[in-house]
C-alpha cells in the first residue's frame, strides 16, 4: 500500500509538473500580451513595456517558469505598482486582475465549487444509482421504461437549458426557490443549502441520468452473476440478496466513475457556475483565460489537474478497500 502510494504520488507530481510546463508554453503561444489587455486602448508602447515589466513578462520564459516553481516551494515577492507584496509558499503566482496572490482567489472560489459539486453529487449518486438499481430490479416494467426514458431525456439536456428553464420557472416566475447564491456553510448552513438547491437539482438531475443508466446496466449484469444465485440458494430474502450481494458488487465500477467525475468537477463546473451566477473556480478559470491572467490560469489548471490526479489515486485505493481481490502494487 505504502509503496503503491509513493509510486503514484511520484507519478502524480510528474504529471502536474508536465501540465504546468505545457500551460506555460501554451500561454506564451498566444500572440496577445496580457499587457495589451491590461493597458486597454489608450496605450503607448512605453506604457506596455512598463506593464510587462511590472508583470515580469519581459523575462525569458525559462526564468518566469523557474520563478514560478521557486514561488511554489519558497514563496516570492511581487512588485505591484510600487507596493511590494509577499506571496507565501505555496505561491502559485499573483493575479494580474484582482492584485492578490492567486491562492487567495482559489481560497475564495474553491469552497463555492466544492459546495456545488458535493451537493450535486449527493443528488446524482442517490437519485441516479437509486433509480438505476430499482429499474434493474424491475427490468422491463413500466417503472423501468419511464425511469430510463426520463434519464435519456435529462442526459440529452444541457445545464444551461435545464438550469435556465428551472431558474425561469422556479425562481423568476414563481419564486418557489430563492435566487441561487453562496453562503459559507460555516456561516449559515440553511442559507448555504437553500442558495445552492437549484444548482444541485440541475447538475444532479443531468448527471443522475447518466448514473441511472450506468448503474442499471451494471446491476442487471451483476444479477446474473453466480454469487447472486448462490445468495438466493442460501435462502436469503430478495432484499438482502439485492443489497448485500448484488448492489455491493454493482456499485464498485461506479465508484471509479464517480471519483473521476468528482475530480474533474472540482476543477470547476463553468456552465453551472455561470448559469446560476456563482463565483466558483470554473468561472474564475474561464475569466482568467479571457483576461490572459496567466497566474490564475496556471493555478486553476493545476488545481483541476491536482483534483483529477488525486481522485484517481483515491479511487484506486478505494477499490482495494472495496474489492479484496485488488492488490496495490
Amino acid at each position: 500500500m505504502l509503496r503503491f502510494l509513493i509510486k503514484r504520488l511520484l507519478l502524480a507530481s510528474t504529471t502536474l509538473v508536465a501540465i504546468s510546463i505545457v500551460t506555460f508554453l501554451l500561454f506564451f503561444a498566444v500572440p496577445t500580451s496580457p499587457a495589451w489587455v491590461m493597458c486597454g486602448r489608450n496605450c503607448s508602447p512605453e506604457r506596455i513595456a512598463q506593464v510587462e515589466q511590472s508583470l515580469g513578462l519581459d523575462q525569458p520564459i525559462t526564468t518566469q517558469y523557474t520563478d514560478f516553481v521557486k514561488g511554489v516551494f519558497a514563496g516570492r515577492t511581487f512588485d505591484d505598482a510600487g507596493t511590494i507584496r509577499e506571496c507565501d509558499a505555496p505561491c502559485l503566482g499573483y493575479s494580474f486582475r484582482s492584485q492578490e496572490p492567486v491562492t487567495d482567489s482559489l481560497a475564495r472560489t474553491l469552497p463555492v465549487t466544492l459546495s456545488i459539486v458535493i451537493g450535486a453529487m449527493v443528488v446524482f449518486l442517490t437519485v441516479g444509482i437509486g433509480l438505476g438499481m430499482l429499474a434493474a430490479l424491475r427490468k422491463g416494467s413500466v417503472f423501468d421504461r419511464v425511469a430510463i426514458g426520463a434519464s435519456v431525456g435529462f442526459a440529452s439536456t444541457q445545464t444551461y437549458t435545464l438550469g435556465g428553464v428551472l431558474l425561469l420557472v422556479l425562481v423568476y416566475s414563481t419564486g418557489i426557490l430563492p435566487n441561487p447564491s453562496y453562503t459559507p456553510i460555516t456561516e449559515n448552513p440553511l442559507a448555504w443549502a437553500s442558495g445552492l438547491l437549484l444548482p444541485w437539482i440541475t447538475l444532479g438531475l443531468i448527471n443522475s441520468a447518466l448514473y441511472a443508466r450506468l448503474s442499471r446496466a451494471q446491476m442487471i449484469e451483476t444479477l446474473t452473476e453466480d454469487f447472486v444465485r448462490t445468495a438466493r440458494a442460501k435462502g436469503l430474502p430478495a432484499r438482502t440478496v439485492n443489497r448485500r450481494h448484488a448492489l455491493r458488487a454493482a456499485i464498485t465500477p461506479l465508484v471509479t466513475i464517480a471519483g473521476v467525475d468528482l475530480g474533474s468537477y472540482l476543477g470547476g463546473v463553468v456552465i453551472t457556475e455561470s448559469v446560476f451566477s456563482l463565483n466558483g473556480i470554473g468561472r474564475a478559470a474561464a475569466d482568467a483565460v479571457a483576461d490572459l491572467n496567466l497566474p490564475l490560469v496556471m493555478a486553476t489548471v493545476l488545481v483541476a489537474a491536482f483534483f483529477i490526479v488525486t481522485m484517481n489515486i483515491i479511487v484506486d485505493m478505494l477499490y482495494a478497500v472495496i474489492d479484496p481481490r485488488v492488490r496495490l502494487g
Partner: protein, 579 residues
C-alpha cells in the same frame, strides 16, 4: 474616453471589449420612458447652486438597502485609478470630487462645486489659473477633516507611472505634456518633489496653474482624479480594495469578486452636499451576476429583489418582457455619451467621393435592427448628450440609406474595402450586415475579424491594412472637447496606440480644434457643433452608425432614480427605497 461597463464576464476583458460597446437587443420599438432630450449641461455660475443640502426628491423616504446586481467586480475602487463607467457611478457615493454633476432627470445637468464652494474660479479669466476653495464641515469616514492637502495628495497619486488606468486630463494639463510623468512621478517615486502646477494654501485653498488655457478644468476635476485621499491612510495597492470614503457611504465589507457592503458614513454631512440625497441606509453590490440573470431577477421582482437594480443594458433575451406596460416605471431608457462609428482609414481611402458614397449607402435601420432596437438612429459625430449638440445628416439617404446616390458618386467604379472588427458574436453580426448593405451600392466588403484582446493594438497602428475600422467613442464629460481633439487632431497620430482611427490629418480641422479649445465652455459648445458638421460634409472620415442607448431596470421598490447624463447609469444620488 472612459470605458463603458458592459455585459461581459470579467474585468480586463471587459475593458478591451467594452470599448466596442456590446449590448444586444432584439426588438425595435423601445419602451420605458425614453425622452428625446437635448443636453443642457452647463457650469453653474451661482455659488448658491453648490450649496447643500441637495433638493429633496418628491415622495422620497429614508432607509432601506438598495442592491446592485453586477456582472463583475469593479476594475478599480481607488479613485485615482477608476475610469470605467460602473465604478465612476459607484465612486460618486464614496469619493467626492472638487466639482460634481447635479441632475434632476429632466436633462438639466449642472456642474457645481462638490467639495469646493463653486465649480471653479478662473482667476485671470484666461483659463490658465483655477482656484478651488473647500467647504466647511467636510470629513473623511474616520472623522478627520478633508483638507486641500488631501485633494492635492490624491491628484499626486495619479502621476504614478504604474497607475495608468485613470483619466489623464488633469495630469497632462498640469505637466503641459501628453507624457505627463516623465519628471514628476507621484508621491511614491518622487516623495519630495512638488506636484507640477498644484499649490495648496492653508487648509482650504487649492490652485491649479496650467501652461496652456484649460477652460474645461471644472469638468476635469469632476472626475475622481480630484478625490481626496488621506496620506496617513494610503495603503497604496490595497487602497483599491477599501478606499477611505469622503462621500455618504463607506465600505463596511468587501469580499473581492463576491460583494461589497456600503453603509452610511456617519461623518458625511448632508449640509455640505448639493448633489446627493443619500436616502438608503446602505448599498449592497453583488458580483458575478451577469446581465441576463440580473435583468431576469429584477424583472421577476421577487421580494428580496424589489430593491435591486442593474447597471447594464437589459439583454436581448429579457428585453421583450420589459417592454410590457407594467415595466414602464421600472425601465430607464435613454441616450448615452457613446456613439458607434465606422472609421474610414484616410491613409488608404483617399478619395472623398468613396467616403461620401459609404455614408450615402449606410443602412442604419438594418444595423439598428441587428442591435435590437434599443439604440437611436445617429448621423452626427457627437452624441445628443454633449453640450451644443445639433442634429443633422450630411448624406441623408433616409433611414435605410440611398445606394443609388452612392453608385452615382462612384461613377461605376468597382470598389473592394476591408472591414476590421473585434471577433465577437455581436460584431460578427454587424459586420455581416455591413457587407450586405454595401453590396447594394456595388461596394465589396472583405471582412477582417481580429482578436478582440489585441483589436485596438492592430487598428491603432499607423499603416495598418484596414480600410474600414469598427469603433466608438464616449465623451468623458458633456463637452465635445473630449471628442474632437482625441479623434480628429492629425497631430496626435503616432506609430501605434492611435485613437484617430480615421488617420485624419487636415490642417483646417487641426486649427479649428486649436481655436475652439481655448474658448470658454458656453461659447465653445456651438463652435464644436459646427465643426462636427463641417468635418462630415467636407471630409467624411467616419460613417456614424447610431447613438448607443442605455436601457436599465430596477425593482418595484426603488424610486427617485434616472439615467445619469454624466456616467450613463441609473444614479444613486437621488435613489430611494419605497416604503
Amino acid at each position: 474616453m472612459r470605458r463603458r461597463f458592459g455585459a461581459l464576464s470579467a474585468g480586463v476583458l471587459t475593458v478591451a471589449l467594452v470599448a466596442s460597446g456590446c449590448s444586444e437587443t432584439t426588438n425595435s420599438n423601445s419602451g420605458g420612458d425614453q425622452k428625446a432630450k437635448v443636453q443642457t449641461g452647463t457650469i453653474a455660475t451661482d455659488p448658491a447652486e453648490s450649496q447643500g443640502p441637495a433638493k429633496a426628491v418628491q415622495g422620497a423616504t429614508k432607509g432601506g438597502v438598495v442592491k446592485l446586481l453586477h456582472a463583475a467586480e469593479f476594475e478599480h475602487l481607488d479613485p485615482q485609478k477608476i475610469y470605467v463607467s460602473d465604478a465612476l457611478s459607484m465612486a460618486t457615493q464614496f469619493a467626492r470630487t472638487l466639482t460634481g454633476y447635479k441632475e434632476d432627470g429632466t436633462g438639466n445637468l449642472k456642474l457645481v462645486g462638490d467639495l469646493a464652494t463653486n465649480a471653479g474660479e478662473d482667476v485671470n479669466g484666461d483659463c490658465k489659473v483655477w482656484k478651488y476653495t473647500l467647504k466647511d464641515g467636510l470629513k473623511f469616514e474616520d472623522g478627520t477633516p478633508i483638507t486641500a492637502q488631501d485633494v492635492a495628495y490624491g491628484i499626486s497619486r495619479s502621476f504614478d507611472p504604474d497607475w495608468g488606468d485613470g483619466p489623464t486630463y488633469l495630469q497632462q494639463w498640469l505637466a503641459g505634456s501628453v507624457e505627463y510623468n516623465t519628471t514628476y512621478k507621484g508621491p511614491f517615486v518622487s516623495p519630495n518633489d512638488p506636484i507640477p502646477g498644484v499649490k495648496v494654501e492653508g487648509e482650504k485653498v487649492l490652485t491649479f496653474t496650467f501652461p496652456a488655457p484649460q477652460c474645461e478644468t471644472p469638468y476635469a476635476v469632476a472626475m475622481p482624479t480630484s478625490a481626496p485621499v488621506p496620506k496617513a491612510k494610503d495603503t497604496k495597492g490595497d487602497y483599491d480594495r477599501k478606499p477611505v470614503s469622503s462621500g455618504p457611504y463607506m465600505i463596511k465589507e468587501h469580499a473581492y469578486d463576491q460583494f461589497i457592503e456600503f453603509v452610511r458614513n456617519p461623518n458625511w454631512d448632508a449640509k455640505t452636499d448639493p448633489i446627493r440625497n443619500a436616502y438608503p441606509e446602505g448599498i449592497r453590490v453583488e458580483f458575478g451576476i451577469d446581465a441576463e440573470n440580473g435583468a431576469n431577477r429584477v424583472a421577476a421582482d421577487a421580494e428580496a429583489d424589489k430593491t435591486a437594480f442593474i447597471w447594464a443594458n437589459v439583454p436581448a433575451a429579457v428585453l421583450p418582457k420589459t417592454r410590457a406596460p407594467e415595466f414602464k416605471e421600472r425601465v430607464k431608457n435613454g441616450p448615452s455619451q457613446y456613439v458607434e462609428y465606422t472609421y474610414i482609414n484616410m491613409d488608404r481611402v483617399k478619395d472623398l467621393k468613396v467616403r461620401q458614397a459609404l455614408n450615402w449607402a449606410v443602412d442604419r435601420d438594418a444595423i439598428l435592427k441587428i442591435r435590437g432596437g434599443v439604440d437611436t438612429f445617429g448621423s452626427t459625430l457627437l452624441s445628443p448628450t454633449i453640450g451644443g449638440y445639433q442634429n443633422y445628416n450630411a448624406y441623408d439617404g433616409g433611414p435605410t440609406g440611398n445606394p443609388e446616390e452612392a453608385k452615382k458618386l462612384l461613377g461605376g467604379q468597382q470598389i473592394t474595402l476591408t472591414y476590421a472588427f473585434p471577433n465577437i458574436p455581436a460584431r460578427q453580426q454587424m459586420a455581416a450586415k455591413t457587407k450586405e448593405v454595401y453590396a447594394k451600392a456595388g461596394i465589396n466588403i472583405v471582412l477582417a475579424p481580429l482578436d478582440p484582446n489585441s483589436y485596438y493594438k492592430a487598428v491603432g497602428t499607423k499603416g495598418n491594412q484596414y480600410d474600414l475600422i469598427r469603433g466608438g467613442w464616449g465623451a468623458d464629460w458633456p463637452s465635445a472637447s473630449t471628442v474632437f481633439p482625441a479623434l480628429f487632431d492629425g497631430r496626435t497620430i503616432r506609430d501605434s496606440g492611435n485613437q484617430n482611427l480615421a488617420y485624419m490629418n487636415e490642417a483646417e480641422v487641426n486649427s479649428e480644434i486649436d481655436r475652439i479649445k481655448v474658448m470658454k465652455v458656453d461659447q465653445a459648445a456651438g463652435e464644436w457643433a459646427k465643426l462636427d458638421k463641417m468635418i462630415m460634409q467636407k471630409y467624411a472620415p467616419v460613417i456614424p452608425q447610431y447613438y448607443i442607448n442605455n436601457y436599465e431596470i430596477h425593482g418595484s421598490k426603488i424610486g427617485g432614480t434616472f439615467l445619469s447624463d454624466s456616467y450613463g447609469h441609473m444614479t444613486l444620488n437621488t435613489m430611494f427605497v419605497k416604503p
